[in-house]
């Protein structure tokens, strides 16, 4: 089948949902690969706004970086190397914690017993809380729309998602609820302090960063209980397409 070359839309999916995504679909050799998420979004590219928690060179002097990005729902891991020149250049000047906007492709490492999703940023830029708030609300709306389709069970992608993940709708509604509540409460705190729109980006960035770091700690704790299988991953299972590196520390962290 001949493919019409069309740019892939950058989908809006929360980090928690992305981190649970393990299923890829491709309609043929020459069509792009898509990751199917538990609520039935088919994504080849995503747009995210989240806090850079840390960045670390995978091996000394490899210029191949592992980053961890958090939104109010969870954390995703990303890798930036020489195949992502624009993101690599931008990342050089950036120090965590800071709010970033990221356009990324998705990648799933497949082991024999488990799978592990990471993002490959195409572009990275430092951004502000206003953009973060917009992203969270926008992503919440998109996710709620998907959940509604999932409940109707009418279209193929959501049906497949249900079969693959046995998606717990309540779990994902709670995820969205939590994200929106975090944003709303933070906005209320700022307006109570009488800063409202006057808050400077620097102050907001910093406090949001810290706040979300706390958020993440609890999230990681929960994630450990839910997905203990990640700890069982046999690293030998993974085939690395870019460079050989050691995943053991990421997996231990999770």
């Amino acid at each position: 089948m001949d493919t019409f070359q069309r740019r892939e839309v950058a989908k809006r999916v929360f980090a928690y949902e992305l981190s649970k995504s393990t299923y890829t679909t491709s309609e043929g050799d020459r069509t792009p690969k898509y990751v199917l998420t538990p609520t039935g979004e088919k994504c080849n590219r995503v747009f995210m706004v989240g806090v850079l928690l840390d960045k670390e060179e995978v091996k000394p002097d490899s210029n191949f970086w592992r980053i961890r990005i958090s939104d109010p729902t969870g954390v995703v891991t990303g890798f930036v190397g020489r195949y992502q020149p624009e993101a690599l250049e931008a990342l050089g000047d950036i120090q965590p914690p800071v709010i970033l906007s990221i356009v990324a492709k998705l990648n799933i490492f497949e082991g024999e017993t488990s799978k592990f999703l990471s993002i490959r940023p195409e572009s990275i830029n430092v951004t502000d809380t206003q953009t973060r708030d917009y992203w969270v609300i926008e992503t919440a709306k998109h996710t709620v729309e998907r959940i509604k389709r999932l409940m109707d069970g009418a279209d193929e992608d959501t049906k497949l998602a249900k079969d693959v993940y046995m998606t717990d709708i309540g779990e994902y509604l709670s995820m969205v609820e939590k994200a929106v509540t975090v944003i709303k409460e933070e906005a209320e705190i700022f307006s109570e302090e009488g800063r409202g729109d006057d808050r400077t980006d620097d102050i907001a960035d910093e406090s949001a960063g810290l706040k979300e770091t706390e958020e993440v700690k609890t999230e990681v704790g929960e994630a450990r209980i839910e997905s203990s299988e990640i700890e069982d991953i046999d690293l030998e299972d993974f085939e690395f397409e870019e460079e050989e590196w050691d995943l053991s520390d990421i997996l231990e962290e999770e």
């Binding site: 969270v136 609300i137 926008e138 709708i169």
Partner: protein, 317 residues
């Protein structure tokens, strides 16, 4: 080995499920699948498709019979060729067919977009009229010259409907994130004679030429459902970033590098949300007005939370 056989069995059932009304030998299907997948290492999906197509050809049945109704899609959803779809459209414009093989050619539209259609002469379909609305059932997408179109063939059906399908509004508003900035953006130079962007003082048409400075960004605005290619001119950029041609010259004076203007613009634009009003052109979205979002997103928090609450009730959580 047993695992492989099981897999073939599952795939065979999948193929057969599409031909329930026909008498097909499962062994023959399994044999073909196994040959493609196990011997020739063809990906499963391709093997299934190949065998399915083979059966369709052998039995001389139309895809519309086996696959039932093609799904109703809106024009903006059409993204690849070879897809069987049903469209509800209004005929926007008819062109002169330039080949005897074509009975009609023109543009059809629905609220999400406009697309070219071709009716093949041998399909023997009734002619459509400009301004009337139709259901185009079981038409197939195709790409021609890098653009997508729909073809009406002998398996298609065209049915006139009373409903008046609306076409995309002339002016639309989009709120999206600027997810990419493309080549030939930034602090550019244009030919004084023809205004084309020139590189290293050489115009593609006028050769070595006199030039003037200009600023522009060719970018992609993405709202998570569609993307829009936009061109932002100096006026747009100055209002969004405070950087106009004058400021760009200052930046170059300090950094001694024209590229640093683009770097500066990227820092202020990439990954940010903008509200844009304008019209769809052939490829680019023609920007009439652009502004940064107003930071009132949080006001929508309550309505989202309310919706979540009612959905939770619905599923009994």
């Amino acid at each position: 080995m047993a695992e492989k056989e099981d897999r073939i069995k599952i795939l065979t059932e999948r193929v057969l499920s599409r031909f329930e009304d026909y008498d097909i030998n499962p062994k023959e299907v399994s044999k073909r699948l196994s040959l493609l997948i196990n011997e020739f290492k063809v990906p499963e999906e391709e093997a299934v498709r190949t065998v399915t197509n083979y059966i369709i050809k052998e039995l001389d049945i139309s895809p519309s019979e086996t696959f039932g109704e093609s799904p109703i899609k809106s024009i903006s959803e059409l993204s690849r060729s070879g897809e069987w779809v049903t469209l509800k459209v209004k005929v926007f414009q008819l062109w002169d067919a330039d080949s005897p093989n074509v009975s009609q050619v023109g543009l059809i539209g629905d609220p999400t977009g406009i697309i070219k259609f071709v009716t093949w002469a041998k399909s023997r379909k009734p002619e459509v009229e400009e301004g009337r609305s139709y259901i185009f059932r079981n038409v197939v997408t195709d790409s021609y010259g890098g653009r997508i179109q729909v073809n009406i063939n002998r398996n298609s059906e065209i049915i006139e409907i009373d409903e008046d399908i609306s076409l995309p509004p002339r002016e639309i508003e989009v709120v999206g994130a600027l997810v990419a900035i493309q080549q030939n953006s930034g602090f550019i130079q244009r030919c004084k004679t023809c205004n084309r962007v020139i590189k290293k003082g050489i115009c593609a048409v006028h050769g070595k030429t006199e030039s003037y400075d200009d600023l522009r960004i060719k970018g992609v605005l993405d709202d998570g459902m569609n993307f829009y290619e936009v061109i932002l001119n100096e006026e747009n950029l100055k209002s969004l970033t405070g950087i106009g041609v004058e400021e760009a010259r200052e930046i170059v004076k300090e950094s001694l590098d024209r590229e640093s203007v683009l770097e500066e613009l990227k820092k202020r634009l990439l990954g940010y949300y903008f509200r844009v009003r304008g019209s769809r052109g052939n490829r680019y979205f023609i920007v009439r007005e652009i502004e940064a979002i107003d930071g009132k997103a949080v006001e929508f928090a309550d309505s989202v939370l309310k919706e979540i609450e009612s959905l939770k009730k619905e599923i009994g959580v």
